[in-house]
C-alpha cells in the first residue's frame, strides 16, 4: 500500500522536475537521484511519448551570487537543445563565514516535435559558501560523466588564487571566460594570467568576447578573398576602429584590441610604438608590416545597445578604403563598403545581430581543440594592452 502511494508521489515529482522545477537532494546521493528521475521518466508512458536523456558533454559553470546563477540557468536552458549536456552549476559565496554545501537537481526539456521524442538534459546545482567553496572539486569531479569532454565556464573574473579553479582545470578540456566582464584596467593582466594558466594545464581557452568578433572577422576577410581586393591587403597602412559605449558604460577597448591583435598576428605586423594616449579617449599604435608602417587607432564612437564594436575602416594609401559600420537607421545591420579605383568598389548591407550569450557559448562548445588563431590574437592583444598603459 505504502509503495503505491510512493509511486504516485514519485511520478508527480519527476514530472515537476521535467517541467522545470528544481528539487533539493542530498549531496552524496545526486547520482542516484538522477538515475531514479530518468528511470521514472522512461516508465511514464502516460502521454504516449518517450523521454530521451541526452548528453554530449559536461558543462561546469561557476557563478557568484544567485542573480548570476539565475542568468546561467537561462543560458543553459537555451543551449540545451544544441548541446544537451550534464551541467553542474556552482553558486559560490566564498566570503561567507559558515561553510555550507547544498545540492539540487533539475532538467531542461525541449518541446518535442510532433510525434517526436522529448529530449531532456540534466542539471545539478551546488550552492557552496565559505570554506566549502575551495573543497568543491571533491564534489564536482565524481559527478562528471566519464569519457565526455569537460567545459568549464567561469562566469567571473578568474582568480589565480582560486584553489577550486586550479583543481577543476586539471580535469577540464576547455575554459570559457568573457573578458568583456573584466574591469578594463585589469583586463591585460587578467588575460595574460589566464593564457599562462591554460597553457600550463594544456586546457583550450575560449573568450566569448572573441566570439563576438566572428561575424566581423568574416566580413573583413571577405574584402580580401578575391582580386581586386586581395592586392590591397598587404598594402594596408591604416586601421581605425570605433568602439561604442554599451549599457551606459564607458567604451571598453578589450574587444577592439582583440580584433587588432588578430589582424596583427595574421598579417605579421609588429608593435613599434604604442599607446599614445588620449586625444578624446583615443588610443593609437604604430605597427610595422612587411611593406611599411601601419597606423592603428581605436576611438570611442556613438552608443550602441549591446555591442562594443561600432565601425572599422582600413586604408591602403589613398587608393583603397574598406569599411564596415553599423547602419544608423537599422542597428541590426551593417554596411560593408569597399572603395577601389576603376569602379571595382561595392557596398552591401548585411544583417549582423548582436549575438546572445547563449549563441556565443554554443559556438565555443562546438570546438574541442585549441583555437590557435585566437591564442595568437590574444598574445598580440595583451602586448597592445600592456603597451597602452
Amino acid at each position: 500500500m505504502a509503495e503505491a502511494v510512493d509511486g504516485v508521489e514519485a511520478l508527480d515529482e519527476f514530472r515537476a522536475i521535467l517541467g522545470g522545477e528544481a528539487r533539493s537532494v542530498d549531496v552524496v546521493a545526486v547520482e542516484q537521484e538522477l538515475t531514479q528521475l530518468w528511470k521514472a521518466a522512461a516508465e511514464d508512458t502516460a502521454e504516449g511519448r518517450s523521454v530521451v536523456r541526452a548528453c554530449v558533454l559536461n558543462l561546469v559553470a561557476y557563478a557568484t551570487g544567485d542573480d548570476v546563477a539565475q542568468h546561467i540557468n537561462e543560458v543553459i536552458s537555451q543551449i540545451s537543445s544544441r548541446h544537451p549536456s550534464r551541467s553542474i552549476v556552482i553558486v559560490a559565496d566564498p566570503q561567507a563565514k559558515a561553510a555550507q554545501l547544498r545540492a539540487s537537481i533539475s532538467a531542461h526539456c525541449q518541446i518535442p516535435t510532433e510525434g517526436g521524442k522529448q529530449v531532456c538534459s540534466e542539471q545539478v546545482t551546488l550552492h557552496a559558501s565559505g570554506a566549502a567553496v575551495d573543497e568543491l572539486h571533491g564534489t564536482v569531479l565524481p559527478l562528471l560523466i566519464p569519457d565526455l569532454p569537460v567545459f568549464l565556464w567561469w562566469h567571473d573574473e578568474p582568480s589565480l588564487r582560486s584553489h577550486l579553479l586550479q583543481e577543476l582545470l586539471d580535469s577540464a578540456d576547455r575554459l570559457v571566460i568573457d573578458s568583456a566582464d573584466f574591469p578594463s584596467q585589469r583586463a591585460a593582466g587578467a588575460l595574460a594570467d589566464i593564457q599562462r594558466l591554460t597553457r600550463e594545464n594544456d586546457v583550450a581557452l575560449s573568450d566569448l568576447n572573441w566570439s563576438r568578433l566572428t561575424h566581423w572577422r568574416e566580413l573583413i576577410a571577405q574584402f580580401f578573398d578575391a582580386p581586386p581586393g586581395r592586392q590591397y591587403l598587404d598594402r594596408l597602412d591604416s586601421v581605425s576602429v570605433e568602439i561604442a559605449s554599451t549599457h551606459g558604460r564607458e567604451a571598453d577597448l578589450t574587444e577592439g584590441l582583440l580584433l587588432v591583435g588578430w589582424l596583427a598576428s595574421r598579417m605579421g605586423w609588429t608593435l613599434e610604438d604604442g599607446g599614445q594616449q588620449p586625444r578624446g579617449g583615443a588610443v593609437s599604435f604604430a605597427l610595422r608590416g612587411a611593406v611599411g608602417p601601419v597606423a592603428v587607432e581605436l576611438r570611442p564612437g556613438p552608443a550602441h545597445p549591446g555591442e562594443e564594436l561600432y565601425s572599422l575602416s582600413f586604408r591602403a594609401g589613398a587608393e583603397a578604403t574598406f569599411s564596415i559600420s553599423r547602419k544608423v537607421d537599422d542597428e541590426a545591420c551593417v554596411v560593408a563598403t569597399a572603395e577601389m579605383p576603376d569602379g571595382a568598389g561595392h557596398s552591401r548591407v548585411v544583417r549582423m545581430d548582436v549575438p546572445s550569450e547563449a549563441t556565443l557559448l554554443c559556438d565555443e562548445l562546438d570546438m574541442l581543440g585549441h583555437d590557435v588563431v585566437f591564442e595568437e590574437a590574444l598574445a598580440q592583444a595583451v602586448q597592445f594592452m600592456t603597451a597602452g598603459r
Partner: protein, 551 residues
C-alpha cells in the same frame, strides 16, 4: 598581385566535418581532438581566412535566372539568395538578372520577388534595409527564350552591370520548363555568352534531366556542344541536404562502420522515400514522369550510390563522383522482359491521411481519368561488385503514403549460431542500422537485449539506440538551394551530378520503363491513399523471406 584562387576542394569536406561536429563530440578520442585543432599552417590565399569556418566567399558574379517568374524561382531560388545575402555569404558586386517572357519593369520584378521572399524565406520577417540593398542588384529582362534579340538584350544588360561591378563571372540557372534547356543553351552559345577569357561562366541545370537515356544523352550532347563539363552543374537538390551529405561522414569519418559495410555482415538494404502528399497540382508533369522519373532515377539513385560507394581517395569532386558512378554502373540491369516481375507499381485511390480525406490520383487536376502513371514503385536491385554481390537493395517510393519519411536501413545478418532458444516461437530480430534523412533526421541502431527477470528461459527483445539531430535539436538547417547555389559560385561540383552519373542512372531506369510500356499496366488504383502501397509490394519482398520495415 594574386590571381584567382583555384577551387578549394577541401571545402566540401570541411563543411561535412563542421556539420558532424555534434555527433563527433560524443567520442572523445584524443587523436580526434588533435585533428580538431585549428591549424594556422594551412595555406590560405587570404591570410585572414586561417581558422575560419567558411574558407572563402565566391568571387563577385552575376546570376542569370531563366524562368524568373516561375514557381521554383519564387519559392526557392530568390529566397535562398536573400538568406545568403543576409548572412553576408554573397560577395559584394553580386547581381541577379531574371529572364522570362512577360514584360515587366525592374521595379515590378523587385516587388514580386519581395513578396516571394517575405513568404518563403526561412528568416522572417523581411529585413527592410537588407532587402533594399539586395533588391538594388535585381534586374529583369523580358524575352522569348527562342528569340535571339532577347540574348542580345541580355548581353548588353550584363555588360552594363559588369562595367559597374568590374567583374564578369557569370552563372546561368535554367529554371524553365525542361523543353527549353537545349534552346537556351544553344542561344547562349550563339550569342557568345558561354565563356569569357579571364572569368568563369557556369550553368546550373534543374531536374528533370531528360526523360530517358536517349533524351538525357541528347541534352548532355547539346550542353557539351556549348559548355565544358566543368562548367555544367546538374542539380539534384537531395545532395544539398545536410543529412544526405552526412551519409558520407557517417560512413567514412567513423572507424566502426566501414569494416561491416559489406556482404559478409549485411543481409539486405532498404531505401524508402515516402511522401504523404499527393501530386499537389503538378498533375501535368506527373502524368509524364511517374515516381520512377520524379524520385527514383535521381534522388534514390543518388542515395544508393552514397550508401554503397567505395571510400574515395580524397574528397575532391571528381574523386567522390568517380566512386559514385562506379556503383551505378555495377547495378545489375533489369531488362525490359523482366521489368514486370522485378517491380511493383501502384497508383493511389482516394483515402484518408492523418484524418484528412484525400482524392485519388485520377481525380487530381490535369490527370487523365484512365491514367497509367505510377505513383508508387517497389523494386529490388543488385549490385554486382565484391562488396555487395548477393545483397539485395529493396527500394520503395510513393505518394499519398501514411507519412513523410526518407531513410536508408541496413539490415544485418543473424548471428551464425542461435545460442538462445526462443521460448515464444518468435525469432530474434536482426540488427538494423537506420539512417533517417527526413523529417526527423538521425541514426538509430536496433539490437537484442535480455528482458529483465529471473526466469531460466531467456526472453530477448529488440531495443533501440537513437541519435537525433536537426529538428529535434532545434537547429534551423539552411535550405538545400542555399548550399548548392553557393557551391556553384565557388566552383565546387561535389554535390552536383556529373554527366556519366546521370546517364548511368538513366541506363538502369530506361529498360524498366520500356518493359512496362510493352506490358499490360496493373489495374489502378491499387492502393488506398494513406496506406503503405499495394499488397503486391508486401508479397514481392516476402517472396524473398523478408519484410518491409514498419516506419
Amino acid at each position: 598581385m594574386t590571381v584567382t584562387a583555384p577551387p578549394r576542394p577541401r571545402l566540401a569536406w570541411q563543411a561535412y566535418a563542421d556539420w558532424f561536429g555534434t555527433a563527433r563530440r560524443a567520442s572523445d578520442n584524443p587523436s580526434d581532438r588533435h585533428n580538431d585543432k585549428m591549424t594556422t599552417e594551412e595555406r590560405v590565399d587570404n591570410p585572414l581566412r586561417a581558422g575560419m569556418r567558411s574558407q572563402r566567399t565566391p568571387e563577385p558574379n552575376t546570376l542569370v535566372i531563366f524562368g524568373a517568374s516561375g514557381d521554383l524561382t519564387q519559392r526557392k531560388l530568390v529566397p535562398a539568395l536573400y538568406d545568403l545575402a543576409l548572412e553576408g555569404l554573397l560577395p559584394g558586386g553580386f547581381s541577379v538578372v531574371g529572364m522570362a517572357r512577360r514584360p515587366k519593369s525592374h521595379s515590378e520584378f523587385r516587388s514580386e520577388m519581395k513578396d516571394a521572399v517575405a513568404r518563403h524565406s526561412r528568416t522572417k520577417p523581411l529585413q527592410p534595409s537588407a532587402w533594399d540593398a539586395f533588391a538594388a542588384n535585381l534586374h529583369y529582362c523580358s524575352a522569348q527564350f527562342t528569340d535571339p534579340e532577347g540574348y542580345a538584350q541580355l548581353a548588353s544588360m550584363l555588360e552594363k552591370i559588369e562595367s559597374e561591378t568590374g567583374c564578369r563571372n557569370r552563372l546561368y540557372y535554367l529554371a524553365t520548363p525542361p523543353n527549353y534547356y537545349s534552346e537556351i543553351t544553344g542561344r547562349l552559345g550563339e550569342a557568345g555568352l558561354a565563356s569569357s577569357d579571364d572569368c568563369w561562366t557556369r550553368i546550373i541545370v534543374e531536374k528533370p534531366f531528360g526523360h530517358d537515356l536517349a533524351s538525357a544523352a541528347e541534352l548532355n550532347r547539346t550542353l557539351l556542344g556549348v559548355f565544358a563539363e566543368d562548367q555544367i552543374y546538374r542539380i539534384d537538390h537531395y545532395l544539398g541536404k545536410d543529412t544526405v551529405q552526412n551519409i558520407l561522414v557517417f560512413r567514412f569519418a567513423n572507424g566502426i562502420f566501414e569494416p561491416i559495410w559489406n556482404r559478409r555482415y549485411i543481409d539486405h538494404v532498404q531505401i524508402t522515400v515516402a511522401e504523404s502528399l499527393g501530386v499537389e497540382g503538378r498533375g501535368g508533369y506527373y502524368e509524364q514522369a511517374g515516381v520512377i522519373r520524379d524520385i527514383i532515377q535521381n534522388h534514390v539513385m543518388q542515395l544508393l550510390s552514397l550508401a554503397a560507394m567505395e571510400p574515395p581517395a580524397t574528397f575532391e569532386p571528381d574523386a567522390v563522383r568517380d566512386e559514385k558512378v562506379k556503383v551505378l554502373r555495377a547495378v545489375r540491369p533489369i531488362p525490359p522482359e523482366e521489368a514486370q516481375d522485378s517491380t511493383v507499381r501502384g497508383q493511389y485511390g482516394s483515402g484518408v491521411i492523418s484524418g484528412r480525406k484525400v482524392v485519388g490520383y485520377r481525380e487530381e487536376e490535369r490527370v487523365a481519368k484512365d491514367s497509367a502513371a505510377e505513383t508508387y514503385l517497389a523494386l529490388k536491385l543488385l549490385i554486382d561488385n565484391w562488396r555487395w554481390a548477393g545483397v539485395p537493395f529493396y527500394i520503395r517510393s510513393g505518394k499519398s503514403l501514411p507519412k513523410r519519411v526518407t531513410e536508408i536501413a541496413i539490415i544485418f545478418r543473424q548471428p551464425p549460431l542461435s545460442l538462445f532458444p526462443s521460448t515464444d516461437g518468435s525469432r530474434i530480430d536482426p540488427n538494423v542500422l537506420s539512417i533517417i534523412i527526413q523529417p526527423d533526421e538521425g541514426i538509430s541502431l536496433k539490437f537484442g537485449s535480455k528482458v529483465p527477470g529471473p526466469q531460466a528461459a531467456l526472453r530477448i527483445r529488440p531495443v533501440e539506440m537513437d541519435f537525433r539531430y536537426g529538428t529535434s535539436f532545434g537547429v534551423a538547417a539552411p535550405d538545400a538551394y542555399e548550399r548548392l547555389l553557393l557551391d556553384a559560385m565557388l566552383g565546387d561540383a561535389t554535390l552536383f551530378t556529373r554527366r556519366d552519373e546521370v546517364e548511368a542512372a538513366w541506363a538502369f531506369i530506361t529498360p524498366i520503363v520500356e518493359g512496362w510500356a510493352k506490358a499490360q499496366p496493373p489495374r489502378y488504383p491499387n492502393y488506398e491513399a494513406g496506406t503503405w502501397g499495394p499488397d503486391e509490394a508486401d508479397e514481392f519482398i516476402e517472396r524473398d523471406g523478408r519484410k518491409w520495415r514498419r516506419l
